[in-house]
């Protein structure tokens, strides 16, 4: 899927002879279906994400749906991938490569919490409904957690001298953050996620830097945020 896909307009193409090449039409239909799936699953849950609801929202025929996806599970998995790929791409853009690890964690979390609060349907798909959509969705979620763990794993090098961080710690941090975020989404508190930044930052840093180091790094980072600074 191309990076600019997400900016395609949601409106259906004009019917009849519009002169667009076939592949453009299919691409537009696919994007509309994925966005519709995110909106329906985000509002009604995976259980309420029927093919009828998705095609109605996307203004795409049932026949077209089944040309593109085997069933609703297949469509959900594609929609999940769509949300996650876009999220990881934007997360990468929000991070400064040469910033210290703790500053990258702060910037990444700050971006993620704001993005989730601004996109509640995507948030629910990524952190709640993915668990309900069957084994393939669970595999994707597992892979996504592994990708996030790689970003967190850079922290092992930031640990104080003499402390060896177990290799499973990055994955534990990802699990902790996703549980804390998922629980708030399930309770309808998605808009308040950005308030959690200091606490989640502590939870991300402490397993590597230790409690005191995490509090200092988090406080320093938040001071520079308050001052409008983006450095470490």
């Amino acid at each position: 899927m191309r990076a600019d896909d997400v900016d395609l307009p949601l409106a259906p193409l004009p019917s009849g002879r519009h002169g667009l090449p076939r592949e453009e039409v299919v691409r537009s239909q696919r994007i509309r279906l994925l966005r519709a799936a995110v909106e329906v699953a985000g509002a009604e849950g995976y259980a309420g994400m029927t093919v009828s609801a998705v095609i109605a929202r996307a203004s795409v025929s049932r026949k077209t749906f089944y040309e593109l996806y085997a069933d609703r599970e297949d469509c959900f998995v594609a929609a999940y991938d769509f949300v996650i790929e876009r999220g990881l791409r934007q997360l990468g853009a929000a991070l400064t490569d040469d910033a210290p690890w703790s500053a990258r964690m702060r910037d990444g979390l700050e971006w993620a919490l704001a993005a989730l609060a601004a996109h509640p349907c995507e948030a629910r798909v990524a952190f709640v409904e993915v668990y309900a959509a069957g084994p393939r969705a669970l595999e994707r979620r597992d892979r996504f957690a592994g990708q996030l763990a790689l970003l967190v794993a850079e922290g092992a090098a930031a640990a104080p001298a003499g402390v060896t961080v177990p290799s499973s710690t990055p994955r534990a941090v990802v699990g902790a953050l996703s549980e804390l975020i998922g629980m708030r989404i399930r309770h309808g508190l998605v808009e308040r996620l950005p308030d959690l930044l200091p606490d989640l930052l502590y939870c991300a840093l402490a397993p590597f830097l230790g409690p005191v180091g995490a509090i200092e790094a988090a406080a320093g980072g938040l001071r520079s945020l308050a001052a409008g600074g983006r450095g470490g």
Binding site: S168, T169, G175, E179, L180, A206, P207, P211
Partner: protein, 211 residues
């Protein structure tokens, strides 16, 4: 609190033995549910398959349970009950709170390793079993977080972590158990004990890492 290691040995024997009885027809149905759902997922588990795995009649099933969900929740409660009981007993066998927590983690991981199908049901399949199962799961995580908070009251802290740190510890532990279970590596869960302790102590704000 035995300091000669007797308690540890007893605990080890206890946590590595199968945890759940198979005596009654109800027990057999719970085992049948765990065996089936851990292989086929919740949505892919028909009651007929549970009956076959349990060797129990449909009539008996419906004398015991209202429906598939009811049976699933009973299996969930059964394995969680055993885990909780063993964790509390193990914790109290520790001469210090750190040792108690280590024993409690060992008891949890050992119990799950000894009952891989129930472990899969309680950690993985519960996520797909509907709103009542999710509510059950959330209550469990909250209870475990309170257990962590309780042990924290006995700790000498070098820092004051945020109040949600108990939830973060439970979330992290859950993730590590989950990622072993989806890879069918339940037998390796007990190897995680030290890593879970390190993670816990660093987040709790205890001066020294686990050892």
């Amino acid at each position: 609190m035995a300091s000669d290691g007797t308690t540890d040995v007893l605990e080890d024997d206890a946590v590595h033995a199968p945890a759940l009885a198979r005596e009654t027809q109800r027990d057999r149905l719970l085992h049948g549910m765990a065996a089936t759902v851990s292989r086929r997922g919740y949505a892919g588990t028909p009651v007929a398959e549970v009956l076959r795995a349990a060797g129990v009649s449909r009539r008996t099933f419906y004398e015991q349970f209202a429906d598939k969900e009811d049976c699933f929740l009973a299996a969930y409660d059964a394995v969680l009950g055993v885990c909780t009981e063993r964790m509390i007993a193990a914790y109290h066998a520790g001469e210090t709170w750190e040792r108690g927590l280590a024993l409690a983690y060992g008891a949890l991981l050992g119990t799950l390793a000894a009952e891989p199908e129930f472990a899969h049901l309680a950690i993985v399949d519960v996520l797909a079993a509907g709103p009542r199962a999710l509510a059950r799961r959330e209550a469990t995580l909250r209870r475990f977080a309170r257990f962590i908070d309780f042990t924290r009251e006995r700790a000498e802290l070098v820092a004051r972590p945020p109040t949600l740190v108990g939830q973060a510890i439970v979330g992290g532990i859950h993730e590590l158990i989950y990622s072993q279970l989806v890879r069918d590596r339940a037998a390796r869960l007990p190897e995680l004990t030290d890593e879970l302790l390190h993670y816990t102590f660093m987040l709790l704000g205890v001066s020294r890492p686990a050892g």
